[in-house]
């Protein structure tokens, strides 16, 4: 099968399931006890779709990303659940099989990635190396160069700069190059964990726009992970809200923003300042995120939840469907008021 040199997504028909995460449970073993970092998480990424995972730091977002990529540290244990890419379980693969799928099928853009370029090699050569390792056929030097140039063009970098060294790039340019690298082998999925967190707003905006454009044009499937709900609002169609290792709400981005059904999502939105709309009092979220070694009983949000009842302390609410493609894990979701857009 001859590979085209087009830059494209190798995913299937738009809208069909691509990456399925089912009841994933992942813990870290520590001296103090087990950290329940990912607890019974289920979601699906469809072909051509951009979804978001949002939550405070330490709630398990990065842990999910690392589990999907199987890049977990030694003290981690995937207790149960499964991750399927195009129907094939990634959890069952051995290291060598997984290594072949990374970059090729499932690639990544991490927060610190722009600082992970090797300072002694040219940026272009580092992407070339990735192509040599992961592209299924051997390309000629010329073909590689053309491909890298095309990738640079796509992410808004001047192709001539591929001859430069990392220190000659600004932070934003380096992060663009990371995106080029992530796209280099036409992956089916890109996982972007805080892709713009360390960048200034203007650069962040440019890169997010670039990513969104690429995602639309190539029909790429992307999982965005961020602590910043405004970023998730910008770039995703569907989103999940995580709290203390659990996925507490899942739905279309617009639904979650306008009609959140989980008290945590609601308070998160209410406590996010914005430069648009009327100046308003923000609602502080009382307390702090729990320790995941001994998470609270029942609903993990109950110590901070204004709607909590005895039932919440005793029983863990299951993820229930509350609308089309909208599910939430809360006993009292009906009591959560509507927001109807922050601008109102």
């Amino acid at each position: 099968m001859a590979q085209t040199l087009e830059i494209e997504s190798r995913g299937g028909k738009a809208g069909t399931p691509l990456l399925e995460v089912q009841n994933l449970v992942m813990h870290y073993g520590t001296k103090e006890g087990d950290v329940s970092a990912v607890e019974d998480v289920t979601f699906t990424l469809n072909n051509g779709e951009a979804i978001g995972l949002v939550g405070e730091s330490g709630c398990g977002k990065t842990s999910i990303a690392l589990t999907l990529l199987r890049l977990l540290p030694d003290n981690s244990v995937v207790k149960s659940g499964d991750v399927r890419l195009d129907g094939e379980s990634l959890i069952g693969l051995d290291e060598e099989q997984m290594r072949r799928r990374r970059w090729r099928d499932i690639s990544m853009v991490f927060q610190g990635a722009m600082n992970s370029w090797n300072p002694v090699y040219r940026i272009g050569d580092q992407i070339r190396e990735a192509l040599r390792l992961h592209w299924p056929e051997t390309l000629t030097y010329q073909e590689e160069t053309e491909r890298i140039a095309a990738l640079f063009e796509l992410v808004g970098l001047n192709p001539a700069t591929m001859e430069r060294y990392p220190h000659e790039f600004s932070g934003g340019m380096r992060q663009r190059a990371v995106i080029a690298m992530a796209l280099s082998c036409n992956p089916k999925v890109i996982i972007a964990d805080e892709p713009t967190t360390a960048l200034d707003v203007i650069v962040q905006d440019q890169i997010l726009r670039e990513l969104k454009k690429i995602q639309k044009e190539l029909g790429m499937s992307i999982i965005y992970i961020s602590h910043d709900i405004a970023v998730i609002a910008e770039v995703t169609e569907r989103m999940g809200v995580m709290y203390a290792g659990k996925l507490v709400e899942l739905g279309s981005t617009i639904e979650v923003f306008h009609r959140p059904k989980h008290p945590y999502s609601y308070l998160l939105l209410k406590s996010t300042p914005s430069i648009t709309g009327p100046r308003r009092k923000l609602a502080p979220l009382e307390g702090e995120p729990p320790n995941l070694i001994e998470p609270p009983s029942g609903c993990r949000f109950h110590p901070r939840c204004p709607f909590a009842t005895q039932q919440c302390i005793d029983e863990d609410p299951p993820l229930t469907t509350v609308g089309e493609g909208h599910s939430v894990a809360c006993w009292h979701w009906q009591e959560v008021p509507e927001i109807g857009g922050l601008q109102k």
């Binding site: 405070e56 905006d205 970023v231 502080p284 979220l285």
Partner: protein
């Protein structure tokens, strides 16, 4: 929430008045030769802060916000210019302060830092940290200091204080540490506090309670803030007025809502248009500007924004960096083509 203090600086004598403040950092490749290259970290800025007012200083990283804050707290010496602090009717020039005035100055001006994990000495207890300025300046007896610290802990929400007094930083969460840092800044009853990104390392859910606390204490202690942040939404929540900085220059100052509703400088417009909005239904109007922020190394005397400015004209290319135009209502802009 306090109403925006429009024109407040005009009504009262300012608490802090910054005039032609500059900070140049020499860049020398050779230790034996005098430097010829300078980074103009802060280049000839002017602003005033009224008593009880909080001024936001916003801009991208590296634009000189923190350097300004450090000069105002005397952590860095100014290259030139004046920083006048009103101490009960008497003006102290912080930039050229006498040794004998140093103690008085340290009682008036305090600072809150960005990183709650690095700004507390890991080997000192909460009490030691909060009481530090009282101890150093020999204010009160030990018993009185302890009581004052306990009171401050109570005020910043670390209750009951006795359970926090003798904890070490590693026994506190990020939010609690930042509360300790706030208590440390206020324990000596200052009139002016420089807050350098005090909430940017905190999680959203904790950020709001810290911001609310700072607002409440500003009222109770009657302090003014210079609130440094890169986040315009945070500045909007915290500040009466906002100053926008670009490469060492202040390009626009206005009361908060005025600035957001009616930005005039091309850079402010670009900055505002790039802030993501937490509502997927909201469509932002985009102002495109070229490239990213560069370094202010030996900048030419023309407008600092010229390379990226979509409106630059020949006048911009041939004239010096523009001075402030007063648009009324305390709205000042430095640009030739409004």
């Amino acid at each position: 929430m306090t109403e925006p203090m429009t024109d407040i600086a005009a009504k009262t004598t300012p608490l802090v008045k910054v005039e032609n403040l500059r900070k140049l950092y020499p860049v020398s490749k050779n230790i034996f030769r005098e430097a010829h290259d300078f980074v103009h970290a802060v280049d000839d800025i002017n602003f005033e802060i009224a008593p009880g007012e909080s001024l936001g200083l916003v801009g991208e990283s590296g634009c000189g916000k923190s350097t300004t804050g450090r000069m105002l707290t005397k952590l860095t010496d100014a290259t030139s210019g004046q920083i006048l602090l009103d101490d009960k009717g008497e003006l102290i020039d912080i930039a050229h302060i006498q040794r004998s005035d140093m103690r008085r100055f340290r009682r008036r001006v305090q600072m809150i830092f960005q990183d709650p994990f690095e700004s507390l000495n890991p080997r000192r207890t909460v009490y030691d940290t909060v009481a530090e300025s009282l101890t150093v300046q020999r204010i009160g007896r030990v018993q009185e200091r302890e009581e004052r610290v306990a009171e401050l802990l109570h005020r910043v929400g670390l209750t009951p204080p006795e359970s926090f007094l003798f904890r070490y930083p590693h026994e506190l969460s990020g939010g609690q540490r930042q509360r300790v840092a706030i208590a440390r800044a206020l324990v000596i009853d200052p009139t002016f506090v420089v807050a350098d990104e005090p909430t940017s390392m905190l999680d959203v859910s904790i950020r709001i309670s810290i911001m609310d606390l700072m607002l409440k204490l500003a009222d109770e202690f009657n302090v003014s803030y210079l609130y440094i942040t890169h986040d315009l939404a945070v500045a909007r929540y915290m500040c009466d007025r906002i100053a926008v900085m670009y490469l060492g220059k202040i390009v626009e100052i206005a009361p908060t809502e005025e600035l957001l509703a009616n930005p005039r400088h091309p850079y402010t417009r670009a900055l505002l248009s790039a802030v993501p909005v937490p509502d997927p239904a909201y469509k932002r109007e985009r102002v495109d500007i070229k490239g990213g922020i560069s370094k202010a190394l030996n900048p030419p005397p023309v407008c600092r924004f010229i390379e990226r400015c979509p409106r630059a004209t020949d006048q911009c290319r041939t004239s010096d960096h523009p001075g402030f135009d007063d648009l009324g209502n305390g709205h000042l802009v430095a640009c030739y083509n409004l």
